[in-house]
Symmetry: C2
């Protein structure tokens, strides 16, 4: 029946080991490891992931020969245990569990007591001398098998049980008798027959085949696929199936079951931790139906097994050199180990364990650093909904800026500011935000918008401020005039309290308790070790002195991107508009001069905050129309006859400067070239600030960055202007200052002609936000809400390229830019200032292509430091070498 | 004084030849050639372009040693002629002319009679026995030298002359006497002194130095630079200077001067052609002050020189194997050749000459093909303003679609259509056009818009129709309500006649005579020869059967881009809007079904027109909001309270679908993916048309093209859908049809991952319009009007990348796409359907990278055929190997 030379599909636990998780799944590999360590593991075997892959390749059919191999393994198991499946005297019963290479919710989990039928139930009754227990087990098996394997709605079984309880006039099912249970088995079989259209399989071999197929099928279930997409687990790994002899924790008061961790997974404390339940099966512990006791309580009633367990836990931790998560059962006084794995833990616990395990000599500092997933640190840097809190999610939006916030809803920036000043906590809710809303955003605890993507104004500004934000919450319909918003049937009024979780995108009506973690000692220790490992520098994107200071606290080694846009907003806006509307060069120059004086002070503040560290200042990037009122608003005013003389002038300017595709329009260096006074003014302001700082004894280090370059001559012209202006200021002050002039590489063309551009540029900073937009032709604001989810769902893209750098496409341009730039100028300084600079997988790529530094928002600096260390040790994320 | 081993700067005519135009300039090389042919050329020497390059390298200073070398050459010239510069008895006089490697207006042209001073003027008087002539020559020299070399305003001299004429009470200057002229010399010297701040140089050697410097300086004059930018002549070539013994055509009635062509430069007729003027200098012929006689007239008064001239012309043509343009002078009965070069000619003349020279055995067919510049053909394909017409240009816009048109101004499409139907010729004038204006554009002779760039709706549609259009004429202020437009002080009312020249962008009030060239026999012959040489196929971009037929007449070998957008416009628009507004899938499907039936007929028409040739059909590309009314118009209506129920629905849809950067938004395959019914409908309609055509005995060949692809899985999904739908239609009809499925490569990412995409695609078509936009980050609509001219002016770009493919940047991606695509699939069909497909330099690049075909608008097909032949022979334009 089986082809010659066909691969082996089934492995006894004795045949495997922990390194074989791709073949045996995580669970199977660890069961094998424990078996070979001599731990008391109930015997069993594992059907490998190869079988699952073959099943998928055949179009969802079990590969030929598989069930024959299973039959052989079953026979060996019968020999080992001295029991027979389906035996009427002393039947072998098994559990069937899925087990993928990576822990994966959403798949078929567990079927217990497989092997029960009308015959073997009698054997079970005989062995346990408990007929009620046997038939209860049988009806539970039919119920579980029907629901999980045959896809029958669980409610039907629950209803039938409920009806029986009522008809027997008892209060709970535990009061039902053995014959009631036997009747229930028949009722449940009837439900299976009518719902699944098949007779309940009584042949244990057939039960096994059904269960194996159900596990394989669940691998491609909707939830499993969603989970894999989210976690970037490849679809072709497949899952294994574990078949294991049943042991019973519910055989009486000398039995029990529990889960345990070798250390506290929540705090990291070095002390066994767990839950225990007497006379129960594992499911009861997990389901939380009965109240568990702490692990320590075992020592009274099960002193022997308790001691044995503690010993085994120590043995496992020493063997795995990490905190283990264990499931165990005591059957009539005898301890069995049912599962172990490296335990999940909170970020705080992970840090503490890692540091303590180094102290204990269990691991070295490099391994300690690798034990912490960079993305985990986010938990420690932002307030979070209390994990213990219960709440109902009203709606979800895009998780635009991490952290949680609670406050009263206000719909305008002015109102938000006023209420904030009156002492209220405020959530600013807007369709979208614009630079005009900045004061409201500063006043708010958090921001919620119904439109805009992850790179919308609200998202970018909020991330910069480290303030929670949810954007593009399309389910939220805002009625600005009515001062309410509606989601589904719920209407939220101005002043109502809501809670938002920017880490997950959840919006909740009312107050959810929020906890604010305090970065602990281990946090600093681990990051210190990480710093010792990494070669990439980590800078920050910061526009304001406060942000710069915050980032420095987090370990930033300079500013990789100081945007100067904000220096044109707020109370400067009227001056900027005067510049735009100027009728004569003199008027324009006068407005620019006014701006210069103010920007000089801005630059001084930033240079002071980053004294002694490099500060990369990007000259003005956005298009001019961003400094004018919205064209449409003015048009509407005009239509209504409500437009003022001044607004009419602004309307004409807005008309003149508006563009069909502003992303690809007159901004960055293009604006710099057609409005030469602008960049010259910025350079003068910056260099004067440098002079002032130097005179005050400071050590300002500046790198002037010119955005949106497409060609060498373009950069050459602007570099000349820059050096001319800087030279004038420095000569007048009689001060010598070294400074660099460089450019962003953010158009595909700049990467393609990087060899030429490096003739002029002293540094490159890859602006991967724009580079991604142009390489894909994706306007982030337009595509994230419209089709990105569908693209990810259908696997048309492997990841959102705005979150994780698209190594396959955009990455080629980055690599090209690096190689060609360095070919021209060997000491060219290379960095990245797109938001990818704070994404661990992208950081790994940045390390690989040889960047000097990454730059990211202040709150992602620790994450980037850790990710850079991982990259240096060669433990890049899945995107690193794709 | 001169460095050892320094290069030689000065060459006697005897030392050069026609191949040395880069060293000696075109004029100098040809003078040398004629000298060595033994033709009667007045002796002289050439200062090489190397001297000019050295001058520039030194920061506008004559290189050391140059004037010493000139002095030696001057002495040799004095020996050769037996005359001395500045001699009071028989002075040598010379002309000084610039001469660059390429003919270049805008540079210093000519100084005659150099060598005259208070001393030598006496010698000239003695030699000519004409004191008045001598002093007239002297005052002309001072005037010319002052104006051209010393930059003194010419008007001052004219005024002084005018004053003298008045004070002497004569009517014209020819009545002034010798002593009047002598006085004028002094007056002129005074003007020079006060204006230029220097004494008029009397030392001939000094005069020469001044003149040489003036030539070199003029190389970098504004007009010369502009011209070079336009003609893409490198700035570093430099110019030569020719110093040549003067001969006088104005020494009396036995003297004269003229210009001649060996064939008629206007018609190409094989017959000498030219103008002659007795007793005159060359300048008089060119200036057109006196009425010239035709060349034939010489035979009466100058029979000897005339015969000699005809002989020399024959000799020159045989030697140069091309039509020559000649300047000659007869001094006292003796013929001198002053200049020759390959003559400029009209397109019609070029074709006729090339064909006739092949007949005469002068050149072979390959050379004949190379003699025609592809861009020249445009003259023969569109109506043009009559070159003889005089007119005043009111304003200029962008030359959006070539050809000239005359008509009455109307401001709405409806009015334009109505007047057209009433028999009027109409020019449609709009701020910009939209698909709603299509019927008006069809009715109009030409289109004028005040907004929009070279890729605006008006421009693209007009080019497709082969209809003249001027776009983005910012000087034109349109008052739609008042039905007028104003440019400067001129107001044009509805119904007024204007003329527009879409080839130049000129707008003229009133009627300019227009001539419509008829492609002649030679046109077809040359293109036939070209077809024999080229390896690139030439297809057309055509959306309508009429366009396809026109293109086929012009030699198109298929359709490379059939856009399907128009199938959604006009009377289909309400159906499309119904589809967009559909509340249920059923409503959407019903609207799509209605569209399908109509599109099927469209496809039939196109397939019939291109029967037997491949037709590449692009599935829908534009975003949905293009099929909705303008958002702003609706908002204004709403503000005014004038919005209808239906418009309100449309407004909500417009709001839903509008985007910040539509170019980078939800269009092309992205729309195809989120609205699956759309592409499926188009495929069904197309394949049903194929079935119908096959049943009618036709041979339809289709290639289905999916736009805006960024990844392989994206294309794979759509290819599956396409094959599913096509399969259904063909199976139902029981017909077997081969068809290709391929994609546009128009995002940078598609080019970068072309290897993967070619796993699915059977052909690539490079959409270089979008590819250029995304590679540069230039939205064409926004940048062409805003900063492109400034970028070209400042040489930040070498050419407008939307006109000529940017080989340096975008070209890398095209090359990458070709190489990687063919690495995966060796027989991958490659084409280009951006507008570059009709640009000769870009065609050369397409040939070089190995494309199979180019596709361009119907009226550019002949140009592309010729350009492809040039490329195959290896005579690509300047952009070809850049």
């Amino acid at each position: 029946m089986s082809e010659p030379g066909r691969q082996k599909y089934v492995y006894a636990f004795e045949e495997g080991g922990r390194d074989q998780k791709y073949l045996l799944g995580g669970k199977g590999a660890n069961l094998a490891e424990m078996t070979n360590l001599g731990l008391p593991v109930p015997p069993g075997f594992t059907i490998s992931t190869d079988a699952c892959k073959a099943y998928m390749a055949l179009g969802d059919e079990l590969p030929p020969g598989l069930m024959a191999e299973v039959a052989v393994a079953r026979q060996q198991l019968e020999q080992k245990t001295g029991k027979l499946l389906g035996d009427a005297d002393d039947p072998l019963l098994v559990s069937v569990r899925s087990g993928a290479p990576f822990s994966m919710p959403g798949m078929m989990d567990t079927v217990l007591n497989l092997g029960l039928n009308d015959n073997s139930v009698k054997g079970l009754a005989k062995q346990t001398q408990n007929e009620r227990f046997a038939y209860d087990s049988y009806r539970r098996f039919v119920q579980m098998f029907g629901k999980i394997v045959l896809d029958v709605s669980g409610e039907l079984f629950e209803e039938a049980l409920h009806d029986l309880v009522e008809s027997k006039s008892v209060s709970v099912d535990t009061e039902l008798r053995a014959e009631d249970m036997a009747g229930l088995v028949d009722t449940f079989k009837g439900i299976v027959k009518s719902e699944a259209g098949v007779d309940f399989p009584t042949d244990p071999q057939e039960q096994l085949r059904y269960a194996v197929e159900a596990v394989f099928k669940s691998w491609n279930g909707r939830r499993a696929r969603d989970y894999r997409r989210l976690e970037r687990i490849p679809d072709d790994l497949g899952t294994a199936v574990n078949v294991q002899t049943m042991v019973f924790g519910n055989k009486g008061d000398d039995s029990g079951t529990g889960v345990a961790f070798t250390r506290n997974p929540s705090t990291g404390e070095h002390k066994p931790y767990g839950d225990f339940l007497k006379n129960a099966q594992g499911e009861d512990v997990v389901a939380g139906i009965r109240i568990t006791e702490p692990l320590e309580a075992m020592s009274n009633e099960f002193p022997g097994p308790h001691m044995e367990l503690l010993g085994l836990m120590k043995l496992l931790e020493d063997h795995y050199r990490d905190m283990c998560d264990i499931e165990f059962t005591i059957e009539q006084g005898r301890l069995f180990m049912l599962q172990t794995r490296i335990g999940k833990r909170t970020a705080a616990a992970a840090l503490r364990m890692a540091v303590e395990m180094v102290d204990e000599g269990l691991i070295d500092t490099t391994e300690a650093v690798l034990r912490i997933q960079p993305a985990q640190l986010d938990q420690l840097l932002h307030p979070q909904f209390d994990p213990k809190a219960k709440f109902t999610v009203l709606a979800k939006g895009l998780n635009a800026s991490p952290g949680a916030a609670v406050g009263k809803v206000y719909f305008t920036a002015d109102e938000a500011e006023a209420r904030h000043e009156a002492g209220e906590l405020v959530i600013l809710v807007r369709p979208e935000t614009s630079p005009d809303d900045l004061h409201g955003m500063i006043a708010a605890e958090g921001i919620l918008t119904s439109r805009g993507g992850l790179v919308s104004h609200a998202a970018v500004v909020a991330r910069g401020m480290g303030k929670p934000a949810i954007c593009g919450a399309e389910a939220v319909k805002i009625d600005l005039a009515g001062r309410t918003f509606t989601a589904g049937d719920t209407t939220v009024r101005e002043g109502d309290v809501i809670s938002i979780n920017g880490t997950t995108g959840e919006i909740v009506v009312g107050e959810v308790p929020v906890i604010t973690p305090e970065p602990s000692g281990p946090f600093g220790i681990i990051l210190g070790w990480a710093d010792g490992l990494r070669t990439l520098k980590v800078r920050t994107n910061a526009d304001l002195p406060e942000d710069a200071r915050k980032a420095r606290e987090f370990g930033a080694e300079g500013i990789g991107l100081c945007r100067t846009e904000h220096m044109f907003l707020g109370d400067r806006l009227p001056i900027v508009q005067r510049m735009i509307l100027a009728d004569t060069p003199d008027d324009e120059a006068a407005a620019l001069e006014e701006l210069r004086a103010q920007q000089e002070a801005d630059f001084e503040g930033i240079l002071e905050a980053m004294d002694g560290l490099p500060v990369t200042v990007r000259l003005l990037d956005p298009p001019l129309h961003e400094f004018l009122p919205d064209h449409e608003e003015l048009i509407v005013k005009q239509a209504k006859g409500e437009i003022t003389e001044k607004e009419l002038k602004l309307l004409h300017a807005a008309e003149l400067w508006r563009e069909s595709n502003p992303m690809l329009g007159t901004r960055g260096c293009r604006l710099g070239i057609i409005k030469p006074g602008l960049y010259r003014m910025q350079v003068r302001a910056l260099m004067q600030a440098v002079v002032t700082r130097r005179r005050a004894g400071g050590n300002p280090i500046v790198e002037i960055m010119i955005p949106l370059i497409v060609s060498e001559p373009e950069l050459r012209l602007l570099e000349q202007w820059t050096r001319e202006e800087a030279g004038k200021v420095l000569r007048a002050a009689n001060i010598e200052v070294d400074y660099l002039v460089g450019t962003m590489i953010e158009t595909p063309r700049a990467a393609l002609v990087a060899d030429g551009i490096a003739e002029v540029a002293e540094f490159f900073s890859f602006g991967t936000n724009d580079l991604t937009q142009m390489t894909f032709g994706f306007s982030r604001d337009d595509v994230e809400g419209r089709f990105m989810s569908q693209y990810l769902e259908n696997k048309l893209l492997s990841a959102n390229p705005f979150e994780t750098l698209d190594v396959e496409g955009v990455g080629q341009l980055v690599r090209m830019g690096c190689e060609r730039g360095r070919a021209t100028r060997a000491d060219l300084k290379l960095g990245i200032c797109g938001e990818h600079g704070g994404d661990p997988a992208s950081v790994a790529f940045c390390h690989e292509v040889g960047l000097d530094y990454v730059s990211c928002s202040p709150y992602r600096v620790p994450i980037a430091r850790l990710a850079a260390a991982h990259a240096a040790v060669g433990a890049g994320g899945p995107g690193a070498s794709a």
